[in-house]
């Protein structure tokens, strides 16, 4: 029996409508009690959380950990260490791994890599179509049985709507969530038309759909209408889209090369409003670490994506500081909301739940540099900047997987 005591923290748990200072008691990797100790509690370890916020560990709906064919960019070891230092306790892995996540053996291999990195809570997202080519359906049921939590075609559009319809019907038959990153390359990364098509198909097929990494004003409007109409859909936004627009791009600086691209002030404003009013359910990192060579070239020839696990919390807190959202909303968007989308019994400090906990100091400032940064990818437009808010402890199933100054 291991027993862990977190003292005097400001416990914020939006799922259970808790926001007050107190203690958490963890027994055998599970939340045993809040505020009052359970019977016969004898702490092996005590964490003093005075002045800090204690909440559920963050759940990231979109990450790339690289490895396999991409270990120059990052490894499960380097990237899960970065995730732990960022308070993230559950990661969903996009299916555009190399090779693509279209076979149960690959999903099993991912689970092995996760165990070896001592970070078991990695959920692969299965490829919707084989090799993500949008032509043949993947073996979704086998992939689900091998541990995949949802299906997606990542950034690759399924061009043929009949194939998309069948893929969604098949996913719905196995009660699989379809995560759609709406994108139409033929319309130069237009997302709203692809999103509108997918909404139609969601109604037609009854498939549960989650829209990932929205970037457009009209996407937010369409999701709002669909939810009002009663469709079972949800949405997330990548954290950088809530802060950066095309106006922030230093001309041809590849650190700003992301997909979907940075858009206008009006788009950013609507994304922020959508998050505040619940149209957008959650925030993801959309973490994509790169090696230096991948970002060294003329802008359109470089690879897209930002290394973003470690800026997730401070950039969320920046939205709170700017009064875009409340702290409770921000934490919900990183914990309870993604847990609901994935139907996972986590993202909350409910008694009996696995003790995935993040403790952070909301006032602590730190600079992004080689000493503080954990990810192998240093491709962030925020490099060198000072951030406010830092994780001090991360617990995954009651085990301390990160502690600052350690």
């Amino acid at each position: 029996m291991t027993q862990l005591h977190i003292q005097h923290g400001r416990i914020i748990d939006p799922a259970n409508k808790i926001d007050r200072v107190g203690d958490i008691y963890i027994v055998d990797g599970k939340i045993a009690a809040l505020f009052e100790p359970p019977e016969n509690f004898q702490a092996d370890t005590v964490i003093d959380a005075t002045g800090k916020v204690v909440c559920a560990g963050f759940i990231d709906l979109s990450t790339r950990l690289r490895d396999m064919g991409h270990s120059r960019k990052g490894t499960f070891k380097s990237e899960t260490r970065a995730a732990a230092s960022a308070g993230i306790t559950t990661l969903c892995l996009q299916p555009d791994t190399r090779p693509a996540m279209d076979a149960a053996s690959i999903a099993e291999y991912i689970k092995d890599l996760a165990e070896k990195a001592n970070y078991p809570q990695i959920y692969p997202i299965a490829a919707l179509t084989q090799k993500l080519d949008g032509v043949e359906l993947s073996s979704m049921l086998s992939l689900k049985q091998a541990g995949c939590i949802a299906v997606s075609n990542a950034n690759e559009p399924v061009k043929n709507l009949l194939i998309l319809r069948r893929a969604m019907e098949y996913a719905a038959s196995h009660d699989l969530l379809y995560i759609c990153r709406p994108n139409d390359f033929s319309l130069s990364n237009k997302e709203t038309i692809a999103l509108a098509e997918c909404l139609e198909l969601a109604e037609l097929t009854g498939c549960r759909v989650h829209f990932g990494q929205l970037s457009c004003k009209r996407s937010v409007i369409k999701i709002h209408q669909a939810k009002k109409y009663g469709l079972n859909v949800s949405a997330d936004v990548a954290i950088h889209q809530l802060h950066l627009t095309e106006n922030d791009i230093i001309p041809f600086d590849s650190a700003y090369h992301v997909l979907p691209p940075l858009r206008t002030e009006a788009d950013k404003k609507h994304l922020r409003q959508g998050l505040a009013n619940g149209t957008i359910n959650s925030i993801c990192s959309d973490h994509q670490p790169h090696d230096l060579d991948a970002k060294l070239g003329a802008f359109p020839e470089t690879e897209s994506g930002v290394s973003s696990l470690e800026t997730l919390l401070p950039l969320m807190l920046k939205l709170v500081a700017k009064r875009v959202i409340s702290l409770e909303q921000g934490i919900a968007a990183l914990t309870h909301q993604p847990a609901q989308i994935l139907r996972l019994p986590s993202g909350a400090l409910t008694v009996g739940f696995s003790a995935d906990v993040c403790i952070f100091d909301p006032e602590l400032t730190w600079q992004i540099n080689n000493d503080t940064w954990q990810s192998r990818g240093i491709n962030t437009p925020f490099w060198g900047q000072t951030m406010t808010g830092r994780v001090t402890h991360t617990l995954q199933a009651g085990k301390i997987i990160f502690s600052l100054n350690n």
Binding site: I250, P251, L296, G297, A298, F299, P300
Partner: protein, 321 residues
């Protein structure tokens, strides 16, 4: 924009990558400097020793005749040594990266790169990465910019119509794919013309083109009213096969400049074209070779304007203090 890499710490020209971000004073200085190279009596350009001992590399990753040769002539008139590199048939074919090509040339003690590349931002990338004493001139990058072409067009316009503030300028044709059009729109607006009007079907215009500071017309006959300067753009044949246009003959009928349509513009309107021209597609031969055409004057002016830009960039780079 946080910082303009085109200027040195004193705000003087160092690289010439895009018109966007320059002010009227600097563009005017370029035009004045170019004018100083031209003999007012016969229009000839004298050889000057401004860049003696300097090495300029013409780094062309895309084919070009006019631009490359006028850059070469300009460099020679400035007494520089010129190296022409046609990279499409060179080391990149062996898999060498752009950056490695640049590093190797730097090791040969060059002073300036003149770059043409099919990818937008290539010249910026080279300017960011290259050694601090080297200047980079953009001779056309992807669909982004072709700033020296825009400046030689401004020079040509000023020779004939010295007061920009009174001019209405029409740019006609494939604005969407044209780096020339983008640079010209910026230059015309910075120099303060009365109006820049783009005339094209919607398929050949970028979305929200108005935000560049232009008025829009989809009809040549309406669009040519009151126009002082007409800039025709080349229409590439592959636009027909990508569903942007139904065909050449319909395009010529709607947007081709004929003598008859030219009469709609102001009677003394000038006709320009960055070349190469497609006779009978965007422009009728009678107009291209007619009295109002200044197409070949543009070519001649390319030498003086490119001399001015090269000399100014090198001068302010600490090389010729």
């Amino acid at each position: 924009m946080t910082h303009n890499i085109q200027l040195n710490s004193e705000g003087k020209l160092k690289h010439f990558l895009t018109i966007d971000g320059f002010d009227r004073a600097l563009l005017t200085e370029i035009l004045d400097t170019a004018a100083s190279f031209v003999n007012p009596r016969d229009g000839q350009i004298k050889k000057v020793p401004l860049l003696r001992g300097k090495t300029i590399v013409n780094l062309f990753f895309e084919n070009s005749t006019r631009t490359r040769t006028t850059f070469e002539l300009a460099a020679k008139r400035l007494s520089a040594d010129v190296l022409n590199m046609n990279i499409t048939t060179s080391s990149t074919a062996k898999g060498e990266s752009l950056l490695d090509t640049i590093r190797n040339l730097e090791a040969m003690f060059v002073d300036m790169f003149v770059v043409r590349h099919g990818i937008s931002g290539a010249a910026h990338f080279i300017a960011q990465q290259t050694a601090p004493h080297i200047s980079v001139i953009n001779a056309g990058d992807g669909q982004h910019a072709h700033p020296t072409q825009a400046m030689l067009d401004m020079f040509t316009i000023r020779q004939l119509r010295p007061d920009f503030s009174k001019l209405r300028v029409a740019i006609i044709g494939d604005i969407l794919h044209s780096r020339v059009a983008r640079s010209e729109i910026h230059a015309l607006n910075i120099l303060g013309v009365a109006e820049v009007r783009v005339i094209a079907p919607k398929t050949l215009l970028p979305a929200k083109v108005e935000t560049l500071g232009v008025t829009v017309s989809h009809n040549l006959i309406e669009g040519l009213q009151d126009i002082d300067v007409i800039i025709m753009l080349r229409l590439q044949k592959e636009r027909m096969t990508s569903a942007l246009l139904p065909g050449e003959s319909e395009y010529f009928k709607c947007f081709g400049l004929t003598e008859e349509k030219l009469k709609i513009a102001k009677p003394d309107a000038i006709v320009m074209h960055p070349g190469p021209i497609n006779r009978g597609v965007e422009i009728d031969s009678k107009v291209a070779d007619g009295k109002q055409s200044v197409i070949l004057q543009q070519v001649s002016n390319g030498i003086a304007v490119r001399m001015a830009i090269m000399a100014m960039a090198m001068q302010h780079n600490g090389v010729m203090a």
